[in-house]
Symmetry: C2
Subunit: 531 residues, 2 copies
């Protein structure tokens, strides 16, 4: 939907007849993330005349298009001169007119859905039209960061009932593009997140595609984690592909592993994430709407959803996992998505490496049936792939796992992965000799015993401080996992970095807490696995 569609009849007109409010557009090369910012010089005649204030919202119009932006007042003519109106990079791109073009500017009316937002803040239940209006405004960047946060917090906790979550999901799908693969069976998998090293998608996609099922996987980049599937796949291949090219690859190989950001699927989700992540909020309703809207917009008919449980996972108990599962199932049914929820072991990271290059190494070892391949990653991928294969009406219930294992063991999954890599555009990477960050240190065990706890959050934090995912070769290589016996001084894990400052940050984090507990065998927490 274009910005022009979003203009409302009640909007204060930007006095286009008045030369005072006309300014020359200037692209200001500042990345303000998902918040539109307009820059105006304090001595600008328009600013002085019209009673704008710092932090007030303005509407900038040109060529029948408009964007809303928060106003920052500038006292440096090098950034924006009198007679100019600056826009931050994303806002400039949304307005989509040339530098120097004439724009008009006016105080913005509040977004059309602000009444619905206030009703939610007041504790009311909202209807389908309310969610449509709110999500439309969010997608069109009409909400300021403050308004976005207010929405996220007001819909946090138990503030949304399950039908409201359905309305939100539906509105998020409608607000963006939607892919149509023109096949009845389009499978996907997704994990709710929080477990480092959990790169099963890069195994599941080639297995399922080799079986012939359509699995067009679009993934995200890491926002707060040390690697997303897109970051790890990017070690091996191009992941930023035009949607037309993606469709060709999927037709040819039945699968892909690409970054989903170019497709404009559920754009409100990307905007909401920009405030949810800094707050570390992961409310059930928001998680369900975020995940299901992306998958439905991507054209999936069947989804296997992985909910890991563990003391440092997002979900920490079986009752909590079951509540979340029921909410996912309710909304999926309303959205006509076939959903299979799998509750998995989230007590520790999956695989050995944390960080793009280390995780790509683990994935390739599993595909090559290398004896050094991490067994937990292999097992989990086979089980998830098995559940996906059972969406095929020709596969008998219970047979999926064995079929997946045959595809992997026979080398057909590896072959399919290589075809996908070649089609997307292979990048030079020798997974037999992966180039890891040249700076490193080991964290040794203190005392003899058994590894009785590994903190997912702390290990992810250490890997990020070491540079992952921006420095792909940085991260953490786990040398011991839960239940392993260790002796005093033996290394538990190795941290890799490429820059001294990053190494130092990671070292300080390890000094505060290694993330490992050494105890007795009976201290290892019980796994709630449900396969």
């Amino acid at each position: 939907m274009s910005e022009a569609d979003a203009a409302r009849p009640d909007m204060v007109q930007a006095g286009t007849s008045n030369p005072l409010s006309r300014l020359a557009l200037r692209r200001v090369l500042i990345d303000t993330w998902h918040e539109n910012v307009a820059y105006m010089h304090r001595d600008c005649e328009v600013y002085r005349a019209e009673g704008f204030k710092a932090l007030s919202k303005v509407e900038v119009r040109s060529n029948g298009r408009s964007v809303l932006a928060t106003l920052n007042v500038v006292d440096d003519k090098g950034i924006v001169a009198c007679g100019e109106l600056g826009l931050s990079k994303a806002a400039f791109a949304q307005l989509d007119v040339a530098d120097g073009h004439t724009v008009t500017v006016a105080q913005a009316e509040p977004p059309a859905s602000i009444g619905a937002l206030h009703r939610k803040l007041g504790g009311e239940r909202l209807g389908q039209e309310d969610f449509r209006a709110i999500v439309h405004d969010i997608s069109a960047h009409h909400y300021s960061k403050i308004e976005l946060t207010a929405f996220v917090v007001a819909t946090h906790r138990d503030e949304l009932d399950r039908e409201e979550v359905y309305f939100l999901t539906q509105a998020m799908v409608e607000a963006g593009a939607r892919l149509d693969w023109r096949e009845p069976l389009v499978v996907d998998k997704h994990c709710i997140g929080g477990i480092p090293g959990n790169r099963t998608s890069m195994l599941v996609v080639p297995i399922v595609a080799a079986h012939g099922m359509l699995c067009p996987k679009t993934s995200s980049r890491a926002i707060t984690s040390p690697a997303g599937t897109a970051d790890t796949m990017e070690v091996l291949a191009q992941v930023e592909l035009p949607i037309e090219r993606l469709q060709q690859i999927v037709q040819q190989h039945r699968g892909c592993l690409a970054w989903g950001g170019t497709a404009q699927l559920s754009p409100a989700d990307d905007v909401l994430i920009s405030v949810e992540r800094p707050l570390a909020l992961d409310a059930p309703g928001q998680m369900v709407a975020s995940i299901l809207s992306k998958k439905i917009a991507a054209g999936s008919s069947h989804l296997v959803l992985d909910i890991p449980i563990g003391p440092t996972a997002k979900v920490r108990s079986m009752p909590e996992a079951q509540r979340l599962r029921r909410l996912f199932e309710y909304v999926a049914r309303r959205m006509k998505l076939s959903l299979d929820v799998v509750i998995t072991d989230g007590r520790q990271p999956i695989g050995q490496g944390i960080g793009p290059v280390l995780e790509a190494r683990d994935v390739m070892r599993v595909l090559e049936n290398d004896p050094r391949a991490p067994m937990d990653l292999r097992q989990k991928a086979l089980r998830l792939a098995g559940r996906m294969l059972e969406a095929d009406p020709d596969v008998r219930g219970g047979d999926g796992y064995a079929i997946a294992r045959d595809i992997l063991d026979s080398g057909r999954a590896l072959q399919r992965m290589n075809e996908i890599i070649d089609s997307q555009g292979r990048r030079p990477f020798d997974h037999h000799h992966p180039e890891l960050g040249r700076l490193s240190f080991d964290i040794p065990a203190r005392g003899n015993g058994v590894v009785s706890g590994i903190d997912n959050l702390q290990l992810a934090r250490i890997a990020r401080l070491a540079g992952a995912p921006k420095v792909p070769e940085a991260g953490v290589d786990l040398l011991r996992k839960l239940g392993d016996t260790v002796r005093d001084g033996e290394p538990l894990y190795r941290v890799h970095a490429s820059y001294p400052a990053d190494l130092e940050f990671a070292r300080q984090a390890c000094a505060r807490s290694s993330g490992y507990q050494i105890g007795r065998a009976e201290d290892v927490p019980h796994a709630y696995v449900e396969f």
Copy 2:
């Protein structure tokens, strides 16, 4: 409290031994309001090395001081070059070191109170220490705009019980400076706001001070209204005075009418307002903490609080006013402030003018006993002043009003006001011939009848669009009030502006809604007045 005090032992150290993380400080002349923003060039070696992200928070250190700021990534070396770290104006001022000074930068740990914030987001009740920690972080600018909004929304509605409101108020007082007038009786008045033209303070202060009571009034500037007391007083006199000068004036004249912004009273309040106002949130708990913390920090022992009720006032019913009154009374008692709540008529603007110059004209007419003086402004000021005078143990209950009226009618209030104006620094203003915005238009009545409704919000909005308070001579001059008989075509009010664009904005707002209803005499809403 200095920024340095706020540094926490668990903070990631900025790798001061590492030359990579050292940058040259640059003041970036962008006013980002109450959010600290740091600017770093995308090609800056530190940025590339350390895995910062747009929107991540960084800690900038120099000379043992530090500030937290949201990171914006810049692609223009004119704004910030490689090797430089830019800070927005307010953040630069907080760090308080010279341009070009070496700074170190590191990823910031979350503020120390973030755990308490998350417990509030999860619906928990917080204790006194939690509020202290949160308010400390807010005052020290450790919260991002997102975190601030999360706090404001999570403490909105019925989320705070009355003891929590007390904890919040207490913490807000403790976080700033506190004035001590060294007298047992320090009186003040405050209105919860929302009624245009309500400039009673400029009458009450000279009356009460002429009686000999200490009334050191510090006021705010308008944020979303067309004029605050400080804006209106500024038409007549300087209002930005150093605290020492303020104290001299108060000692000499027993009163003042100054802007409170220089005194660092309840600094968290100013930060919280920066997100409450754009959201138009006015939750009872936040209102009580905001108002009482400012008054207690300003050294008041007695406060008369004005709660107006009306269909377009902040409080719209008597039960709502009584609930709010009880909350104010509970917190005031815990804070040992003597509080007298007065519920007043908020059905329409007070006085005739809306906007600094127009309101200053009304105030001076009342002080001079001019027959054109608006009677409602005079009556309300006398009643409030009477209640304040009754805080004097020598004044008998019920006598305050008559004493106030004698002081006003005898010219002693005018004389005291002139002394205060002269001490603060008189500005050239001829209130007999006030210079109003040279552009104007009238809004006529449509049809014959009685004025049966005046929308406070719409009239305030029109006055703001016309330029008030930034253009002091702009605003709205009300020619008819509730209950007045009007004939078709007779002017209801006149809008004044100084700039054509402002006039046009105001005209469009009037075209959408004049803010006046013309009906029958029996349609005029009942006034809930309690004096």
